[in-house]
Symmetry: C2
Subunit: 239 residues, 2 copies
């Protein structure tokens, strides 16, 4: 686990023009507080595949994703893997009250993060109900997403799972201003499989089927939703 700092003592020089600020935890802060928080933080970068932190390790920092995608996953002893989510810019990683990391996180492509030492962040947050309120809200949204994913894992067919994933991914990207014609899928098929409780072969077959049915078009870098309404119907569990 190698952490590469972007210039020592740089202290997140770019908070004022941070592209993730509006979605991130920082949205709850005013200009002065933002500067104070920046003093506590530093920017870190990880190359593709690098591990940011590992499940069950002591959590000494919180992170706010600045750019890139992370996969968050849990492993069983026999190495079965469940990806519990993908983190995108603005997502906050780490929760007070849990001393250890509940899952592992590694970079899907290059990633940059704001890193906050846990104690100093906690001290900073202690006196700022606005920030705590925001954290409750973020945790709530995360919980809602987790529950929606439980429905997917427990009660949906392979085709519904894939459609649901694509629609959810599209909506998350457009929520952070990354919407577009082509839906980029930076993660591998195996990652998608381990996220949806499928095998890589079933993911591949289902992508192929959706393409045959004219719902999507597959490219190396992602897919285009040719028939979004059909995908949304599958995603919703209709038909």
């Amino acid at each position: 686990m190698k952490i590469s700092v972007l210039g020592e003592g740089m202290h997140c020089r770019s908070c004022h023009d941070c592209t993730a600020r509006d979605f991130a935890i920082c949205a709850a802060l005013d200009k002065t507080e933002l500067r104070e928080l920046a003093q506590l933080s530093r920017h870190v970068r990880f190359e593709s595949g690098a591990t940011v932190f590992a499940q069950a390790n002591l959590a000494t920092s919180f992170f706010s994703v600045h750019a890139g995608t992370l996969r968050l996953y849990k492993l069983l002893p026999d190495s079965r893997r469940q990806i519990v989510g993908f983190a995108l810019p603005g997502d906050f990683l780490g929760l007070p009250g849990l001393p250890h990391h509940e899952f592992s996180a590694d970079a899907v492509g290059r990633v940059t993060l704001c890193q906050f030492p846990k104690e100093s962040f906690a001290t900073f947050a202690e006196k700022r109900p606005q920030l705590l309120r925001r954290m409750v809200e973020l945790a709530g949204h995360e919980l809602a997403r987790a529950q929606e994913h439980m429905v997917l894992l427990g009660r949906r067919s392979a085709e519904e799972k894939i459609a649901s994933f694509l629609i959810g991914w599209r909506d998350r990207l457009s929520g952070i201003g990354r919407g577009g014609e082509i839906l980029p899928l930076p993660m591998k098929r195996l990652d998608i499989a381990d996220h949806l409780g499928l095998t890589i072969e079933t993911v591949s077959r289902t992508f192929s089927k959706l393409e045959r049915d004219g719902v999507i078009q597959i490219f190396a870098s992602g897919v285009v939703l040719l028939d979004a309404p059909r995908a949304e119907a599958l995603s919703a569990g209709v038909s």
Copy 2:
């Protein structure tokens, strides 16, 4: 949805000797605050099977479970059901920042709850970082549990699911001082099936298999863990 209040204007007379207080949100409060909060709340009771609130309805109250068990579930349009969790005494229901209920909740057996109007609770919490901190922690624990359940739903066999459920249920009960020789299972087989992403038949068969293998003994009201280490091993995903 019928709400039966335990005597009008009673205002939760029993906060000082509440059996759930140590686990509940109220643990974050001092004596004075507790009395203030009690002024906002009222005790409500639901009979077995009654709906406390329904998914997608406007959330006007928060709840803290005082006694009994609730099933929390989401439905797909074609009535497939996923039980996202069971709530026990001390559990907090509802999250700020989400105007609508994310799931439905109904009583498994008789249930009593403390009900707080959402706005007055929010106002009360606004100025109390201790309480907000506690809410972040509770949400964090809930999130960790949800992620663990994703692993179960996505990556485990029927036998592992059942064993995992029994061990998790045992640990939650003992965490609120309800441990014992016999592990009570107030919910029906169908509830367990919809919680674990199985059918009622598979649940029944798997219970039978575990009993044949000497891991558990089945009673009308629950099970006894004859071979807890074996169940824990299955639960952990070993073997």
